[in-house]
């Protein structure tokens, strides 16, 4: 009888499994040396430090630079737009290129949000965003990490994301639409038996004369065919697509019908089954 070590020693792994991730890896990079990042990062202080704090996902670094700037009398809007947002843009650029990973993004997002709150305190009100988006997890569904990503990507992309949480009754969603008049909505469901909330919400919205340019519906068990079986909806594939979809609505005035057709171009990558 052979034992496992003996068997193992005979194997040529290349005929069984290939670690394409390792095979493919390019050289290591230092974030701030990346040309795209360099083009984005502000040159002057304290904006540069603020942006670097965000880029490093370091709440303290970012917050301290923000506080210093504000104490020095900088306009909170400048701190936001020329510091925090630039940092976030740089992060997004690295994520898109595949050099940054989700944790980088989450931590940068946290740092950015803290700086933002601090700036808004001085501003006296919420800063202006590209637009408001309402996000929820369908009634009866506890799976919320996908929705959390969606919310984070929206915020990192410069949108105000109203996070209604998970297992959200349809009524609450309708109420939020009335209250916030969002430019886009996202719904997440991970179960066959909860994704049925989406068409119900759309129906109730229509009954209430409410409309949004599109509702992105996504999540583990949600199928495109199901989502496209009722109006106003768009099937959402990856959480990081969300700000791109929202952008297409505010910049290019895309409707849900158009987004359905042009999804792949809007998000800039191949998406299975969208032909």
């Amino acid at each position: 009888m052979n034992n496992i070590e003996e068997l193992e020693s005979k194997m040529d792994q290349d005929f069984v499994a290939v670690r394409y991730n390792v095979e493919l890896e390019g050289p290591a990079i230092t974030p701030e040396k990346d040309p795209d990042v360099q083009a984005i990062l502000p040159k002057e202080e304290p904006y540069r430090s603020i942006a670097m704090g965000v880029l490093h996902g370091d709440i303290d670094e970012a917050l301290n630079s923000v506080k210093e700037g504000l104490e020095d009398g900088l306009s909170p809007m400048d701190v936001i737009n020329d510091g925090l947002m630039k940092g976030m843009d740089a992060v997004n650029a690295l994520y898109t290129k595949g050099f940054f990973f989700l944790p980088d993004l989450m931590l940068s997002g946290d740092a950015m949000m803290e700086g933002l709150k601090e700036s808004e305190k001085v501003l006296g009100h919420k800063s202006e965003t590209k637009g408001t988006v309402v996000s929820f997890v369908a009634e009866g569904d506890p799976h919320d990490i996908g929705k959390n990503l969606v919310v984070m990507f929206l915020r990192a992309g410069g949108f105000e994301a109203i996070d209604l949480g998970r297992d959200v009754p349809n009524e609450e969603v309708i109420d939020a639409v009335k209250e916030y008049k969002p430019i886009f909505m996202t719904g997440t469901a991970l179960m066959t038996t909860t994704m049925t909330a989406f068409p119900k919400i759309v129906e109730e919205m229509q009954e209430n004369g409410l409309e949004v340019p599109a509702i992105g519906c996504g999540g583990g068990s949600v199928r495109r065919d199901f989502v496209e079986s009722f109006p106003m909806s768009v099937y959402g594939v990856e959480a990081y697509h969300t700000p791109k979809l929202a952008d297409s609505i505010i910049k290019d005035k895309k409707t849900w019908k158009e987004i359905r057709k042009e999804y792949s171009e809007i998000v800039g990558e191949f998406v299975p089954e969208y032909d």
Binding site: M11, A17, A28, F100, F101, G140, D144, T192, S221
Partner: protein, 471 residues
């Protein structure tokens, strides 16, 4: 000690399996017998099938009953059509079932009726697993304990047991808010707190109740799974080219998850442990209970990087879950039971002919170096992690911490031996995580205190009271 004070369970401080090589599919140290003449872990592998209720079936009790009956009927028909000696049907509840214990009673009854008919007519060995949903919402109402949600879970468990379920499982989700936070931010301390401490505390609460319910009926306490935590990490880690969660981090979470899911057994769960608990081989090594696993026949549900390796020491072989609809080859209950049934048949042939160790080793080697997550669940390494856990067996925090450190050691050894290659993301994430974990206190109370302070504000859903932790 804050945590251990609330504990009244026997803890594992020794390994039931003395060596990894003693483990093999289809055999466990403590087989389980259920009604309908079925034994689990008793020398043959039992295929499992599980089908998610179709959209719309949740809208009324009648539809849900019909749905569950149809699933059972389809599975039974295919089982006899292809000659399966035995199978397990699992029904994972949707929230409506668990929220309405009378639905659970009726859907269970409907499935029992069908299975019993086939058992009577054909002598086929069958098992009906019911998995009520953990419908508690941590941040809502009274929280994890004593809410209506919580009470409904208990009533539903009893309804299933009373109406003929063979065993009961749950995917409990205590600690999820913390682990979600940690997984998406690459924060191993938050993950360890969420899984090792909070998860373990909540499981005890949950499982003492389930075990007590089962004692009243001819129904077994099955097992739990760290789905809410380690599987979230695995799922987000995704394929080789995904960039969300590092696969080494997911491996660390899995190690911790084993320390956590073991609690069910410590409370009296008998197994087979729940299919999606990829940590189950570790728990089998520690405790000797039979386990269910999923892998290459669960591609309908998700993609993992260890589809064969998970067969190696399993006792029940599952498809995880699939849409209820038609394939060209039949309905999905038929198609996927055939898939798990045929793989189980291969394992049973190996058992019958004395070739089980060869097949186990082939399964293992197929994936061992495909990914770090696979590596640590190879039966030899699973056993090592088990040993790390029982070394600190009495302290849920320390044993989860130790499990993670052992995971790190196993990965690093394989890398040093040029057997496994890591990407930079994986490498860096592992190094920094191990450093963090190594520097964590060796005292449970201190760790808990630090974590409560560090995360209470950052993770708004988290409330220490849900875990009866003093602040």
């Amino acid at each position: 000690m804050k945590y251990l004070v609330v504990n009244h369970v026997r803890r594992f401080t020794k390994m039931v399996y003395k060596k990894g090589e003693e483990m093999v599919f289809g055999r466990s140290k403590f087989p389980v017998s259920q009604r309908w003449n079925i034994q689990l872990g008793a020398g043959y592998v039992v295929p499992e099938v599980k089908v998610a209720p179709v959209e719309g079936s949740e809208t009324s009790e009648e539809r849900m009953i019909a749905e569950c009956r149809n699933i059972a009927q389809s599975a039974c028909e295919r089982a006899v059509a292809i000659g399966l000696p035995a199978f397990m049907l699992e029904q994972e509840h949707v929230s409506q079932q668990t929220n309405n214990p009378e639905w659970a009673a009726e859907t269970t009854k409907a499935q029992v009726e069908v299975l019993e008919k086939y058992y009577d007519e054909y002598g086929i060995r069958v098992s009906l697993r019911q998995t009520p949903a953990d419908i508690r919402i941590e941040e809502r109402g009274p929280g994890l304990r004593g809410s209506d949600y919580d009470n409904n879970i208990e009533e539903t468990m009893e309804a299933c047991a009373a109406n003929g379920a063979s065993d009961l499982c749950i995917e409990s989700m205590g600690g999820k808010a913390l682990s979600d936070y940690g997984i998406s931010r690459g924060d191993p301390r938050a993950i360890l707190f969420g899984i090792g401490v909070l998860g373990s505390i909540d499981m005890e609460y949950m499982w003492n109740r389930i075990v007590n319910i089962c004692k009243k009926y001819d129904c077994r306490p099955g097992g739990d799974t760290d789905c809410a935590q380690a599987n979230t990490a695995m799922f987000m880690a995704g394929g080789l080219l995904d960039k969300d969660v590092s696969h080494t981090m997911a491996a660390l979470a899995r190690g911790m998850g084993a320390a956590r899911s073991l609690v069910a057994v410590e409370c009296g769960a008998l197994g087979p442990l729940k299919d999606c608990g990829y940590e189950n081989p570790i728990i089998k090594a520690i405790s000797g209970v039979p386990i269910a696993m999923e892998g290459k026949n669960a591609v309908c549900a998700h993609s993992d990087l260890m589809g064969n390796l998970t067969c190696a020491v399993t006792d029940v072989w599952s498809n995880e879950s699939v849409y209820h609809r038609q394939e060209m080859g039949g309905t999905t209950p038929e198609v996927w039971l055939q898939a798990t049934g045929f793989e189980s048949a291969l394992m049973n042939t190996a058992l019958q002919t004395g070739q089980e160790e060869v097949l186990r080793d082939l399964y293992t080697l197929t994936d061992k170096y495909r990914d770090p997550q696979a590596l640590i669940l190879a039966y030899d390494n699973a056993h090592r992690i088990g040993e790390a856990i029982v070394k600190y067996g009495k302290d849920p925090y320390l044993r989860a911490r130790e499990a993670a450190l052992e995971v790190g050691k196993i990965i690093n050894e394989a890398v040093d031996a040029n057997k496994l290659y890591l990407t930079r993301f994986e490498r860096e994430s592992l190094d920094s995580s191990l450093k963090t974990i190594e520097n964590l206190p060796m005292d449970s109370d201190q760790f808990i205190d630090e974590c409560i302070r560090a995360y209470s504000r950052k993770v708004p859903e988290f409330n220490p009271k849900n875990y009866e932790l003093e602040v």
